[in-house]
Symmetry: C2
């Protein structure tokens, strides 16, 4: 069993820096495309054999140090009672966006085993398949990120509806956040009970907030979720996209690992985060479209700067892009593993 | 003449904090909509009488402390030889994106008086109209921001083509940046000679870069442009969107004022920027969709935190949104002017 990933999460000594890539099972890989050519995206998420199959592809092809459950952050929004669709043009669409108290009241806090059994079945298959290989990461969207999709009804440019609710009716926003947070806690606890050995909260959109509003209206929910999950004795990773202005707050989240995007210098991030958490990141996914020299140089720069952190898990600063040549992803994993700490 | 704006740019003492709003002439105002109902956006930019008319609207209606030339950052890209269109759906579209050396070689460094005389005519009209009122700000897109549109052919989600060029062919990217920087210097110098009393460089997209790449591939062009412009003895404002990870670099730009977005705490920004520059910003434009209490509270929080800066010009962290109620913009200006420094 390659346990470098779990050790780095806890800040224990490792022989080499572990690496995995956000969206490592994805469109840039022809093996994934082959599976996707037979089923649509949501069916893939909901068919345990297939979801497990694509989860395993990057373990074998890239040689990464951790697997991450193949799923989508909006699955729990559907289980809460919303209508979820993925369209080629607009991406995810959630029908009847949540904007009123009665809409919030109608949302349920789902039982994962009842309403999302496929997620837990996928985890159970994966744990068997991954035995003596690498650990399995479960995940969920962080409450605010989920709230943006639920209030906007999909992706957004300026988050006008979310922020209008936050600024005009903070009580209503808080009610929705409570319900999503309870769902997230139940959902990740169930993933851990089914076998997930680490969980990651993806806060893809927290970075659109002022630090003041993030700290007051969003961060308490994050701390609450992490406090409950930590009792289940697996590492918790908290990833924030566009984190540069929020790291001084996020360091107090209670997470074992803070995942960071590429828009912040790794050395400065480590200094802000201090010695009580490990760090994950933070190569610009676009660098994998560059030359082997650029990939090597940027990777080493990050590894060198992260060497003063409590622990470091190498990753991209966001999901791998569909345009990425697979050989560049392989070269990245090799470069991380070959790096010798000074 | 209300010169609080010019004084704050230079860090001189002012009776009240000056305020203007990015995109203060815009769709949220019915007086603007009325002008736009008669002409398309590009025609408006290119018709000095009309461009001057909409420039003046917020001076009278909001009572802001500075006027900013009504124009678009892509006007010089058209003058360099590209085909520019604005579509309702996709926003700006630049035909035949620049991806090769021969495409770069075909671009010209335009003479502003020859190819964009309407910009200078608008400035000349405005200086007459604004006499004894408020100063006039000229502007241009910063070279990297212009490069993103020219390489992508319009707006972009992941900036894959820009970054591919930066990472695979930095020499080519540098060649393009040189040509855009020369254009920007000529363009802003002409604006100053025509009467602009301050110029702002808009770096709307610098924040998508790693600090490392920003510092090495983009920042030298910024410093070069600012160094030349400063010889013309008017204040230079350098605005960076998503600046949080870049401020420690931007502080060395040579600009008189650094404009910041709302994703960074004003107090932390001032500490990073130090005492040699003034700061501009940084209310989340979405806060103007909130309650009067939220607007007041957020405005005072920023004013208080910026009080330790060399100088402060209040502004939004990005352009005002079309959804903004005009009365909220007026209330914001009043709140800034009413604030008494402790």
């Amino acid at each position: 069993m390659n346990n470098t990933f779990l050790k780095a999460c806890k800040g224990q000594k490792v022989k080499h820096t572990p690496v995995w890539l956000m969206r490592q099972a994805g469109r840039y890989m022809k093996e994934y495309q082959l599976v996707r050519s037979r089923v649509d995206f949501l069916t893939l998420c909901k068919t345990p054999d297939l979801a497990a199959e694509v989860t395993l592809q990057p373990i074998n092809i890239l040689g990464v140090d951790a697997a991450i459950l193949f799923s989508d952050i909006l699955i729990p929004a559907e289980a809460m009672g919303m209508k979820l669709e993925f369209t080629e043009k607009k991406g995810p669409v959630l029908g009847e966006p949540i904007r009123t108290k009665s809409a919030i009241d109608r949302l349920i806090i789902p039982d994962t085993e009842d309403s999302m059994p496929f997620v837990l079945d996928t985890i159970r298959i994966l744990r068997k398949e991954l035995e003596k290989k690498v650990p399995l990461i479960g995940f969920a969207g962080a409450p605010f990120t989920l709230a943006t999709y639920m209030i906007e009804g999909g992706s957004s440019k300026n988050f006008v509806n979310v922020k209008r609710m936050m600024y005009k009716n903070p009580g209503l926003f808080s009610l929705l956040m409570d319900k999503i947070t309870a769902t997230t806690i139940e959902y990740l606890s169930a993933q851990i009970h089914a076998g997930a050995q680490t969980v990651q909260l993806f806060d893809s959109w927290a970075g659109v907030l002022t630090p003041h509003d993030y700290e007051n209206l969003v961060f308490p929910h994050i701390k609450q979720a992490i406090a409950v999950l930590k009792k289940l004795k697996v590492p918790v990773i908290y990833f924030i996209n566009s984190c540069a202005g929020l790291l001084h707050i996020a360091k107090k989240s209670g997470a074992d690992v803070i995942g960071i995007d590429w828009r912040v210098d790794m050395g400065r991030a480590v200094r802000t985060l201090g010695k009580k958490v490990s760090v994950q990141g933070n190569l610009d996914p676009c660098i994998l479209l560059g030359t082997p020299e650029k990939i090597q140089e940027s990777t080493r720069d990050i590894l060198r700067k992260a060497s003063s952190a409590r622990g470091h898990i190498f990753n991209l600063g966001h999901g791998i892009l569909p345009e990425t040549p697979v050989e560049n992803a392989i070269a990245l994993v090799e470069a991380v593993h070959a790096y010798k700490k000074k």
